[in-house]
Amino acid sequence: MRLLQFCTWLSGTDFSVWLREAPYPYPVLLIIHLMTLALFGALAILLNLRVLGLVLPRAPITYVLQQSRPWKWTALALLTISGLLIAASDPLEYYGNRMFWISLGLLALAAVNAWYFATRTCRTITLWDTAERAPSAARWWAWSSLGLWIVLIFVGRAIAFF
């Protein structure tokens, strides 16, 4: 209930009205959101494909990870900021949107998935860093991550549909 009150208050602020009604903020935010989503998603997919041995099989996995890290964090920061601002442009609408909450839940799952890779899957990475194809546990992780991202795109798109 307190969250609903917060959304009602936020929705009435000049800032939220400006985000919602001025001609440029919303499309600009949406563009930033989609471009950084493309960059972040692409790098996540690249890592998954590398683990599966489908792309750059001769590059060590830790090298791909380390090279994509700064881009990923930059993209993630912009993605989060633009996403929060998009949500702030019409808080009441998103509050009542089931798909919005599902996509947040999936985002949390994606974070757990990344954490799992960093702390569990990578524990033995020195053994398969330069292997063309990672062992099956890591490949299962890659498939789960790929699937999660695809579902996230569908649910994200569905926010605007419902």
């Binding site: 998603g41 692409a42 690249l46 750059l56 590059a59 795109i153 605007a160």
Partner: protein, 150 residues
């Protein structure tokens, strides 16, 4: 109007088909733009420097071109929902033009700059080529988003 004339087109018949196809369109975009971006960033020399340019380009090219194929197929499907309407939208016409330019630039210019053996004779224009390609693909996204916005 044309959508009414084509009642058998699933995109005109069921409301949910459009967002589903559009979601596939966004997945394909991620594949296309993501691989093109990485090739260009490598050409710019800002990431994956230990891998040869030609190796990065050759490894990602099949993903990039399959992404483009997904985009053309799903894009044509989305377009078929209301062709007359789309043709009247300037952003749509700009996007089609930009896609042709971006794809040709990628195929003719970037592909040559990232060809096997190019490492021996890097050209000073490589960075510029990468930046132009990045700008072109960004413009495609921009125009695409504007179609929905107008």
């Amino acid at each position: 109007m044309i959508a009414e004339a084509l009642p058998l087109n699933p995109i005109a018949r069921w409301e949910w088909v459009f967002p589903v196809v559009e979601s596939v369109h966004i997945c394909g975009f991620t594949l296309l733009a993501g691989s093109a971006t990485l090739i260009n960033l490598r050409l710019l020399g800002v990431c994956l420097r230990r891998q040869r340019i030609s190796e990065v380009a050759a490894g990602l090219a099949p993903w990039m071109w399959s992404g483009l194929a997904v985009q053309i197929a799903t894009g044509a499907f989305l377009f078929s929902g209301d062709p007359g309407e789309y043709l009247q939208v300037a952003a749509f016409r700009n996007k089609m033009l930009l896609i042709i330019i971006a794809a040709l630039f990628q195929f003719l210019v970037v592909r040559r700059a990232t060809a096997l053996g190019r490492e021996q004779a890097p050209a000073g224009s490589d960075g510029l080529i990468a930046l132009i390609s990045l700008a072109l693909w960004s413009a495609v996204l921009l125009a695409g988003m504007w179609i929905g916005n107008l």
